[in-house]
């Protein structure tokens, strides 16, 4: 046997570990800030730091910066050891590391600036999207290069999950990010309305599935057995776990769009597969927990195991709750409420957070060749982390169920009991405080960890190049198809995984994208005018969709509160769709014409003046800033390319149209009863554009009808 000597690259592991810990703190800190912004609206200071702009920063930071770097940390450590090989290329490793940090920094700069596509977890604008794709491919090349030159023929289960992660995230990111650029900082989704919603939640759900779950399952399959020093409970189960999970997960996306204008069959399919998901998810969860059978005493000794056990337990809870929430009757209540926030934080704080902490506590002493600086401190972290999580999650369950019940409660006479939406907001303010406190406690724990790991690194010496040796794989003789042949063939495995992953997406998305049934070409609504389009872009920029939905479900209480339920025709020209996913404020789909221009003017200036106790921020800058008139034409041309039927005349006359529509609103504001100087505006002020947009929401259908009648006459 020809034994080869080689070295593991621990520097890249250390770098990703530092990035994970630091971005984790940043992401959680932003989370704590926005948690306090809800009950204390005065914390929304300056246009750059409002809730609407910081929430995407929080989600992006914890998902892509904290968990993302956590994934790479775990992959770079375990893949080298599982393949008995150094990473394929040190250059690629470095490019991957710095490229990813560059993406995070650009996100941290652009999101507060309001450069956002508004699609959840895909808010970053197109140049950053391209950078993400490039860096992701670099990661993939580095990973597959390592797999191909491995010295261990059989690929361990963790590697399968890494492969699936790479494939699925590539497909999801590319197809959801397809957009038509207007400038370097602005683009429109190529999909409109219902299609955009389907693609977005196919992405959104599978960002959870293939960015927050499958790579972490890979980490679980490696680090849990390593930390416990026991083999995984059942290798057989892990085979079934893998194939069924990657096949089923991709189908579940439409459960985010139940009772919406999305075709019914897609909703039903989403629910069916979501419920089916319980089986593989719990198979994996039990496989992890049962690894500790007969060795539970080690959990008492090893703090990293404590974190891992709670992580896997939270995974089990979240993957039972998720399928239940996808049932239509449960979803009717849970959707749009803080219940969703409780659910995702159960998974994010518990599963992703705690598993990352466990892995960090295990890896850092290993690569620094020392012991953990303080077990006691780590134990304190464990307990206050758990406490913070409970504070957070329980508060959000109470909040979610309270608001959902209040929204739908009718009096015996059949009218809404809480007609004023504000009543349902003030009721849950105490829960917002509790949640924020929970977040602070959890963050404190993470800070303790950073200190502890820093001290650990200080007392040890980094094994930059860890020496190892293994026999080279012998050239394959024509061995008969013996056991484990599939898992020894990386390329075939890759191809089969691609198949398993894309089938669901194809079946669900292809019909709605190819068929005209789901993208009505008949002009049920007219396209937005130049000014409304500008207003809509301000709505996107300020992140209004983070708190306001634009999708009314066919329930009595919703149609009574918000107007006629939404249909596909409502959204034909919506690039991107703005359905939102949470109702911290009321739905706005049919807001147009309900209130006066003056009301909106005052409301945006200081919401509390017109809505006592409102928790919405003040938007002072809308009254100072002017719309960028020069870009409107380009925007209209870009939208025409993706199917919005603007005529050449409309585009050429955009300036007149802007001025006229803006001036009408300005005149109306002046003529309102109050002191005219109080409602001062000019036609090109941002506030005027926003009012134009808000006033047309849900109104365009009538306009078309009236126009038609005029023409017929």
């Amino acid at each position: 046997m020809n034994v080869e000597n080689f070295k593991y690259d621990n520097v890249i592991v250390r770098n990703f570990a530092i990035a994970t810990a630091l971005w984790g703190i940043v992401g959680m800190l932003v989370g704590v800030i926005i948690a306090f912004q809800l009950p204390l609206p005065f914390l929304n200071q300056t246009e750059y730091l409002t809730y609407g702009r910081l929430r995407p920063l929080h989600t992006n930071a914890v998902i892509f910066a904290f968990v993302g770097n956590g994934v790479f940390l775990g992959v770079y450590y375990s893949l080298q050891r599982l393949c008995k090989a150094r990473m394929f290329s040190d250059t690629l490793s470095k490019l991957h590391f710095w490229g990813w940090q560059l993406i995070i920094v650009s996100a941290a700069i652009t999101l507060p600036l309001g450069l956002s596509t508004s699609k959840e977890y895909a808010e970053l604008e197109w140049p950053i999207d391209i950078l993400i794709a490039v860096v992701w491919v670099i990661f993939g090349l580095n990973m597959f290069g390592t797999i191909l030159k491995r010295r261990e023929k059989h690929m361990y289960v963790a590697i399968w999950f890494y492969i699936a992660t790479f494939i699925a995230v590539t497909v999801l990111h590319v197809f959801n990010s397809l957009a038509i650029p207007v400038s370097a900082t602005k683009s429109y989704s190529v999909y409109a309305g219902v299609q955009d919603a389907l693609v977005q939640w196919w992405y959104g759900h599978n960002a959870v599935a293939f960015f927050l779950t499958t790579p972490y399952l890979g980490l679980m399959y490696y680090f849990l057995p390593k930390a416990a020093n026991r083999p995984v409970f059942s290798y057989r189960l892990s085979i079934i776990h893998f194939w069924s999970l990657v096949f089923i997960y991709i189908w579940a996306g439409p459960h985010h769009l139940l009772y919406s204008a999305v075709p019914n069959w897609a909703q039903a399919l989403g629910v069916a597969f979501s419920v089916t998901l319980i089986a593989p998810s719990w198979g994996g969860m039990l496989n992890g927990l049962l690894t500790l059978r007969g060795a539970w005493d080690t959990v008492r000794e090893k703090v990293e195991l404590k974190f891992m056990v709670v992580a896997v337990t939270c995974y089990g809870m979240a993957t039972l709750e998720g399928p239940l929430m996808s049932l239509k009757n449960v979803n009717a209540m849970a959707h749009y409420s803080d219940w969703i926030i409780a659910h995702v934080h159960n998974a994010a704080l518990g599963w992703n957070g705690f598993l990352t902490f466990g892995v960090l506590y295990w890896i850092i002493p290993k690569i620094y060749n020392t012991n953990l600086y303080s077990r006691k401190l780590a134990n304190i972290h464990f307990w206050i982390g758990t406490l913070g999580m409970i504070f957070y999650v329980v508060a959000m369950y109470f909040s979610g169920i309270t608001q959902a019940l209040m929204w739908k409660e009718l009096t015996p006479d059949g009218v809404l009991k809480y007609t004023n939406f504000m009543q349902t907001v003030t009721q849950i303010i105490p829960m917002y405080y509790l949640r924020a406190i929970g977040g602070v406690i959890y963050l404190l724990g993470a800070v303790l960890m950073v200190y502890n790991l820093y001290k650990t690194a200080k007392q040890g010496v980094l094994l930059r190049e860890e020496e190892a040796s293994a026999p080279a794989i012998e050239p394959e003789k024509s061995e008969k198809m013996s056991h484990r042949w599939l898992e020894g063939k990386a390329v075939l495995f890759f191809v089969l995984t691609v198949l398993a992953v894309i089938i669901g997406g194809l079946v669900e998305l292809a019909p709605s994208i190819l068929s005209e049934v789901y993208s009505p070409t008949k002009p049920l609504v007219r396209p937005y005018t130049a000014l409304e389009l500008e207003g809509r872009d301000i709505y996107i920029k300020e992140g209004c969709a983070n708190c306001h939905s634009q999708s009314i479900r066919p329930f009595k209480n919703e149609t009574m509160r918000y107007g006629e339920y939404s249909q596909a025709g409502d959204y034909v020209y919506d690039h991107p769709f703005l359905w939102g996913s949470k109702r911290t404020g009321p739905d706005l789909l049919r807001e147009g014409g309900r209130r006066s221009n003056a009301w909106h003017y005052n409301h945006m200036k200081d919401p509390e003046v017109v809505t006592p106790n409102s928790i919405m921020p003040k938007y002072d800058w809308l009254f100072r800033k002017k719309i960028n008139v020069d870009m409107v034409k380009d925007k209209m041309y870009a939208l025409r390319k993706v199917g919005v039927p603007y005529s050449e005349e409309e585009i050429n006359n955009y300036l007149t149209s802007l001025k006229n529509q803006g001036q009408t609103i300005v005149d109306d504001l002046k003529s309102s009863e109050m002191n005219p100087n109080e409602l001062y505006a000019e036609w090109d002020d941002e506030i005027v554009a926003l009012i134009a947009y808000l006033q047309i929401l849900g109104k365009r259908i009538e306009n078309v009808d009236s126009q038609k009648e005029v023409k017929n006459d």
């Binding site: 026991r230 060749n369 020392t370 198809m481 056991h483 484990r484 599939l486 898992e487």
Partner: protein
């Protein structure tokens, strides 16, 4: 509502397909050795202990 019959047919055939794939994989020996892969990852690279003189100033 008729779509339900189509859906049932499709679901049953997908289920059968997976059952066939499963039976094939069992017969093919995919599940024959489920012990060594799980054990192998636990074996540390033995060389590490001996050559590690750099990090000597441990506690």
């Amino acid at each position: 509502m008729e779509i339900i019959f189509l859906l049932i047919c499709i679901s049953v055939s997908v289920g059968l397909l997976f059952l066939m794939l499963f039976i094939w994989s069992v017969k093919n020996g995919q599940y024959e050795d489920c012990h060594t892969p799980a054990m192998r990852i636990l074996i540390e690279d033995c060389k590490k202990e001996e050559t590690d003189t750099k990090g000597e100033k441990l506690r």
